[in-house]
């Protein structure tokens, strides 16, 4: 229609709209609050029975009682100790094993065979065995969490080492860097983003296994608390415990997010 009209003059329309990941932090908070509000209002208006589904207010009340009675502090202290100890141990062991397997070709096939064979075992099924091996106390709990974290961490580390561009390693070698310097200055920093992503996942794994570990022989701990509340059908307390587990997960993710921001400025 306008073809041949050499004198046309109009602004070029902007066409590269959308498909951009933009952060709207407040939207996340508002969504969560809205869900809670609908839940509470639904309960008040008896849209559903509150016998087996608590309300946010009842959960908050149960949580508050746990805080002032000191029970939450005790359980949280015990659980965080197990979580941190098991996760750190499993992560470090997985990192070392993954690096060894990823870097030394003689270890690769034997190491991968062992890791691949043991990785898919549901660690929860091993809890009774761990109790016999490591005792009913903290030992079996730390091992359950640590063992569960070890395998995903080792596998992610191997993959992360493999994904470090080989030309960067060759560059280091061409400048006469020692093997240790290549590992320390090129392989590890190159693998770091993938390692931090793996840690996000293993933190969640650790929380799941914490509950499993606290099923057996635990007098205290958030997992034990949740199971006890479940056994007693104390729905408010059960959901309060789940909320605490969820908050632990959020806090762990946040910490790793902060670590990513500090360590991966260059991205």
């Amino acid at each position: 229609m306008r073809r041949g009209n050499w004198r046309m003059a109009e602004p070029v329309p902007f066409r590269a709209r959308g498909f951009v990941a933009r952060e709207r932090g407040w939207a996340a908070a508002v969504t969560l609050l809205a869900v809670l509000a609908v839940w509470q209002i639904g309960a008040e208006l008896r849209w559903f029975s509150v016998a087996f589904l608590s309300t946010p207010a009842a959960i908050a009340r149960a949580l508050w009682h746990l805080v002032i009675s000191g029970e939450l502090g005790r359980d949280l202290g015990a659980s965080l100790g197990r979580l941190l100890g098991g996760w750190l141990g499993g992560t470090l062991a997985g990192l070392v094993a993954g690096l060894a397997i990823g870097l030394f070709s003689t270890l690769r096939n034997p190491g991968m065979a062992v890791v691949s064979a043991l990785f898919p075992i549901p660690k929860i099924a091993l809890v009774p065995l761990f109790i016999i091996w490591f005792g009913i106390g903290e030992g079996s709990k730390l091992v359950t969490v640590g063992f569960g974290v070890f395998f995903p961490m080792a596998i992610s580390t191997i993959a992360a080492v493999d994904a470090v561009p080989r030309n960067l390693i060759r560059m280091g070698q061409s400048f006469g860097l020692s093997q240790a310097a290549v590992v320390w200055r090129i392989v590890l920093p190159g693998a770091l983003p993938a390692l931090l992503s793996a840690m996000r996942i293993t933190a969640a794994t650790a929380i799941i296994l914490l509950v499993a570990a606290e099923m057996i022989g635990a007098e205290n701990g958030i997992g034990a608390f949740v199971l006890r509340a479940g056994n007693l059908y104390d729905i408010d307390a059960l959901m309060a415990g789940i909320a605490v587990l969820s908050l632990i997960g959020l806090a762990a993710a946040r910490l790793i997010g902060l670590a990513e921001r500090a360590l991966l400025k260059w991205r």
């Binding site: 016998a51 087996f52 009774p128 109790i131 016999i132 005792g135 009913i136 099923m215 057996i216 022989g217 635990a218 007098e219 034990a224 199971l227 006890r228 056994n231 007693l232 059908y233 104390d234």
Partner: protein, 329 residues
Amino acid sequence: MRLHRRLVLAGLAGFAVPARAEEPIRLGLLRTLSPAPLYLAQERGYFAAEGAPVVFRFFEAAQPIAAAAVSGDIDVGITALTGGFFALAGKGTLKVIGGGLHEQKGFDLTAVLVSRKAYDAGLTSLEKLGGHSFGITQFGSSFHYMIGRLAEAKGFELKSMSLRPLQQIGNMLAAVRSGQVDATMAIASQAKPAAASGEAVIIGWVGDHVPYQITALFAATPMIAKREAALRGLARAYQRGVADYRAAFLAPVKGPATAAAIADITKYVFTGDPAAAQKITEGIGWYDEGGALDVADVKAQLAWFQAQDMVKGPIDPAEIIDTRFLPTR
């Protein structure tokens, strides 16, 4: 519009009631020796004869039986009276209608089992249990209750003990035999072999010190409300099963009735086990006459769980017990 919907609902209900009367009652239970009177009643056709045909729904653990009644997957069940059971009953979804297994003085059912190590270190009587570690299945379980009542009876502090939830009976036995816990409880058929092996020592029997209605027959509230006649039939059949059970196992003289009962029971447990007869006679527990319910003890249990803050909120015992179907002790 509203009128119309109500009519439809009423129509549906009208069709549903006669159809359900023909339906067998779904009864939840554990595949253990403890519900043996029900096996007898089923094998001998008492349920069908009383107009209350029953299908068994077997469960792996006691706790889900009560939950299944709440969710509508079973109509009636026999299970341990636990903290979880009372919590569910307190929400008006279940009612206890009759007695099951009962601890009885002089009738060795549940033993207190102590590890060899703890015994040698001086844990030789029930009074000394305070301060020791003790294996239970779960918080609020029968074992938790029994050790709590034992503490009251024997004058030691439950709070001084470290209770270890081990989830399964097998774990409890393994933990006490390997010395991971100082003490636990086990039924006779499991406690006696453990003691015979020398790895553990029996220091007492729960039934000698604490009266205890261990298991009870319960019904889901809709079952009571809508199918009362069928439930009455089920109760009558249950009483006949209990009578047969008592004649076979609880009478002073064992005779042909015992052998016949063992034959029926082995269709459910110890099937094909050459030592079944011995295991059954050793493991048999007390049932009160007529499937009677120890109402006073059920109330005491509820009070204990409430005092321990394991069952919350006010629960009127009358609301969770219905004595119209079976006698009381």
